[in-house]
């Protein structure tokens, strides 16, 4: 193992410019960049358990209702100010202020069960959260990557109470150096960073940085970014298309991959006159060879997974793979039983996300082979999303953002279709199981609940899960210490460049 060395510039691709630095106006690229600058109290480890970040440790009361976090020793903002518990509370209050439209508010205001009743700061290094009831997801939501619930310096906000444009004073291992809009975001190493003791894993643990500068290059075009990587103009290319792995390897790049958390699924509109018939849905499940689709799409990196529990998750085991097996003959029989007479079924997809498009093409071929009259309808992504939100589709090739806990994933697909068109699975029984899974903190019990949920889903087929999009990153051979993890967001600490 080579010894880490400091210095150099690391160039990482992002496919679109970041949106802002306040964490409220966000997308995946924004999350990635800002999490290098800012720190949440706790963060996910690579095995999806929650570990220390800004808080070096925490204590949960016996009733499971209070969480006391101790801030990392020596934690400081990029402007030199020490990070205090008051800063944590200030950030929390700001986030929970409805005027700021933080989209994670529902996770903490009781509307989904969990409610943070109080935040107190007994001393500068201790901050205490009091909940309405014990909750399995509190830490997970605090660590939620997309929520950007990190702690920023109050100096980021001007006298008018508004975030100063492009200001980014955090406590992370890198500070913002320059943001050239549309071109790149440059970060430089924060020399006074004091890492926690725990070894780095995921977003948690030590964030010791080695490179002097990191440049997140905005390269929207995939092919161009690959070319740039091969030509040595780029060091890290996150999210390499699985089909491009061979090519990258043949050009001497290091390709790293691991199971992912973004569930790729085929949505079925159970309110559709045709698809409301469970036999037809079952026929669909029998017609689709999810293992072949997964293999073709991910080049064998990921296996098919019909359940809402990812293989990367600690809850996963073989039971979650139980599903109507691939059997076109049976599919045909079921179709006949259901009285299907070749009515056209439209599969909505888009070309913005190649995975969604290719899955749709493969599915269409399989459905056609099984006697369905399936047609592709290629839409603009925004239009497809609109349809998703309104429930306006028969079949849609879709992919969910990463959810780091199975309950969260079930939470997304479960619901009352009458009030929430984004709900895919409208089942009272399942909803009860899901609610239980959140209130229970014991992992063993939760796992059992998930199994029950999955068994129900395999009967009902409200959605056709395909696989979890693996994280596959390609890095130049000069880059050392880089690793991938299920949450997929690249981390540039712990990375150095050889020679």
């Amino acid at each position: 193992q080579e010894q880490p060395k400091t210095g150099g510039t690391l160039k990482v691709r992002i496919n679109a410019d970041i949106r802002a630095t306040d964490g409220l106006n966000r997308d995946a690229n924004t999350d990635t960049v800002l999490h290098q600058i800012f720190e949440t109290l706790v963060a996910y480890r690579a095995d999806l358990t929650v570990g220390p970040a800004l808080a070096e440790s925490w204590k949960v009361s016996d009733d499971g209702k209070t969480y006391a976090f101790t801030l990392r020793d020596g934690a400081a903002f990029h402007n030199g100010d020490a990070v205090t518990s008051a800063d944590v509370k200030w950030n929390w209050d700001r986030r929970m202020d409805a005027a700021n439209q933080w989209f994670c508010i529902p996770f903490f205001d009781g509307s989904q069960g969990l409610k943070v009743e109080q935040v107190t700061t007994p001393d500068p290094r201790t901050v205490v959260f009091t909940l309405n009831a014990p909750n399995a997801l509190f830490l997970a939501q605090l660590a939620n990557v997309q929520c950007n619930g990190w702690v920023a310096s109050p100096r980021n906000v001007g006298a008018d109470g508004k975030w100063i444009a492009d200001s980014a004073i955090g406590s992370g291992p890198f500070k913002l150096k320059e943001w050239v809009k549309g071109q790149y975001v440059a970060l430089e190493r924060f020399a006074d960073y004091k890492p926690v003791k725990e070894a780095p894993s995921g977003f948690a643990g030590s964030r010791e940085a080695y490179v002097d500068e990191v440049r997140f290059m905005v390269i929207p075009d995939t092919a161009a970014s690959e070319t740039a990587l091969f030509a040595g103009e780029l060091d890290v290319l996150p999210d390499l298309e699985s089909s491009r792995v061979e090519e990258a390897k043949s050009r001497g790049m290091t390709v790293l991959s691991t199971q992912g958390l973004s569930w790729t699924a085929i949505l079925l509109q159970t309110k559709d006159p045709l698809l409301s018939n469970v036999k037809i849905r079952q026929a669909l499940a029998h017609a689709a060879d999810i293992n072949q689709i997964a293999a073709a799409r991910t080049n064998g990196v990921a296996a098919g997974d019909p359940s809402a529990v990812a293989q990367a998750s600690s809850f996963f085991d073989g039971d979650f793979l139980k599903w109507p097996e691939y059997d076109p003959v049976k599919a045909k029989a079921l179709l006949d039983e259901a009285g299907y007479k070749g009515e056209p079924i439209k599969i909505q997809t888009n070309t913005r996300y190649q995975g969604m498009y290719e899955n749709a093409v493969l599915l269409q071929a399989m459905l056609t082979a099984a006697g369905f009259n399936a047609q592709l309808e290629v839409l603009d992504w925004a239009a497809q999303l609109d349809n998703y939100l309104a429930g306006k589709f028969q079949i849609q090739s879709f992919g969910y953002s990463a959810r780091l806990d199975p309950s969260l994933m079930y939470g997304v697909i479960l619901g009352d279709k009458a009030t929430d068109p984004t709900a895919q699975w409208d089942s009272k029984e399942a909803l009860d199981l899901y609610t239980k899974s959140m209130a229970t903190t014991d992992p063993g019990q939760r796992k059992a609940l998930f199994k029950q949920l999955h068994a129900l889903m395999a009967k009902d087929v409200p959605i056709l899960g395909l696989y979890y999009e693996p994280s596959v990153d390609a890095v130049s051979p000069k880059v050392k210490g880089y690793s991938v993890w299920p949450a997929a967001n690249p981390r540039v600490w712990g990375v150095w460049k050889s020679e």
């Binding site: 410019d17 529902p106 929207p220 925004a382 999303l385």
Partner: protein, 313 residues
């Protein structure tokens, strides 16, 4: 002169209004909106509506339009929904990039193609002519993005001579900037030389048939003097119109090249904004593109009389 320019600009106003209305209506017609896109599958119930309300998208389209027009008239093009940047500086920034490449390309293409076309026409059916005709027809037949990809593959990837992605403004580092614009400019030059050379050739052939060219020869002028002093202006006039057209249309179609070479230009801004349903940016840049189009046409009309005095501005 002043009056002419003013009336021309005034006559462009209905065009601009029409464009702005069309853009506005069309953008609102297309399914999907910025709030949806921003939240995606992470949206919690009610959040999309709240965001739409905050963006003012829940108001009637007519009201939205009038508010927008009112603001534009006071010079306020609004802020980008995506990045929160002010729209006008954003557009000007990106336009500086696109126009550098487009103007450079059109300039070089004209400087090569016009003389080539004219020299070819001067000796019709000579070997030189055949070479020019064959080359320009060939260039005319290559899709620009394909050519761009091939050049990128050869010079960037295999030979490694030139950078492939990105852009450096000339104001920052001239030598670097020059390196970065070479490939996109060459691609555009190759693609646009075809039509310009053909036009120059055709109009020169037309002019060379005319009596005053013979008359210039009868005066004892050398062939090159006849060509540059007598044929050039007359043959260049129609070519200028084409160059103006190329210039105008390139500014809106350069997005393809910007995509290939990852150049943060106006075209990409527009297309990305369309995909992201960033209404203020789409509206602003469309209006800007239309304005530039009108301005280029005006410029051509102003130069034209210098070449052909029969046409008064």
């Amino acid at each position: 002169m002043v009056r002419f320019v003013l009336t021309r600009i005034a006559s462009a106003i209905p065009t601009l209004i029409l464009v702005s209305v069309a853009v506005f209506v069309m953008m609102r017609f297309i399914p999907g909106d910025p709030a949806t896109l921003m939240l995606g599958d992470l949206a919690q119930p009610g959040q999309v509506e709240a965001m739409q309300h905050q963006m003012g998208l829940d108001q009637p389209v007519v009201v939205q339009y009038l508010i927008w027009v009112g603001n534009v008239l006071t010079g306020d093009f609004g802020h980008s929904i995506g990045s929160g940047q002010e729209v006008l500086p954003l557009i000007l920034d990106r336009f500086a990039v696109s126009s550098t490449i487009v103007f450079l390309a059109v300039l070089v293409a004209s400087a090569i193609a016009v003389p080539a076309g004219m020299l070819a026409a001067w000796k019709q059916d000579s070997l030189r002519d055949i070479a020019v005709v064959a080359t320009s027809t060939f260039l005319l037949s290559i899709p620009s993005f394909w050519l761009g990809l091939m050049l990128m593959l050869i010079f960037g990837l295999y030979l490694g001579w030139l950078p492939i992605v990105g852009y450096v403004p000339f104001s920052r580092d001239f030598a670097q900037a020059a390196l970065y614009v070479i490939l996109p400019v060459i691609t555009l030059v190759l693609v646009e030389s075809g039509p310009i050379a053909r036009m120059a050739r055709a109009s020169t052939i037309e002019v060379a048939r005319l009596e005053y060219i013979t008359h210039a020869r009868a005066k004892g002028l050398s062939e090159s003097a006849v060509m540059w002093r007598h044929a050039f202006k007359n043959a260049f006039a129609p070519t200028l119109t084409l160059i103006g057209f190329v210039l105008g249309s390139l500014l809106s179609s350069i997005v393809v090249i910007e995509t290939v070479f990852t150049i943060p230009g106006l075209g990409r801004l527009l297309v990305d904004a369309i995909y992201a349903r960033d209404y203020p940016v789409v509206q602003g840049s469309m209006l800007f593109v239309a304005f530039i189009y009108v301005a280029v046409n005006l410029l051509v009309d102003l130069i034209y009389p210098l070449l052909d005095p029969r046409v008064t501005a």
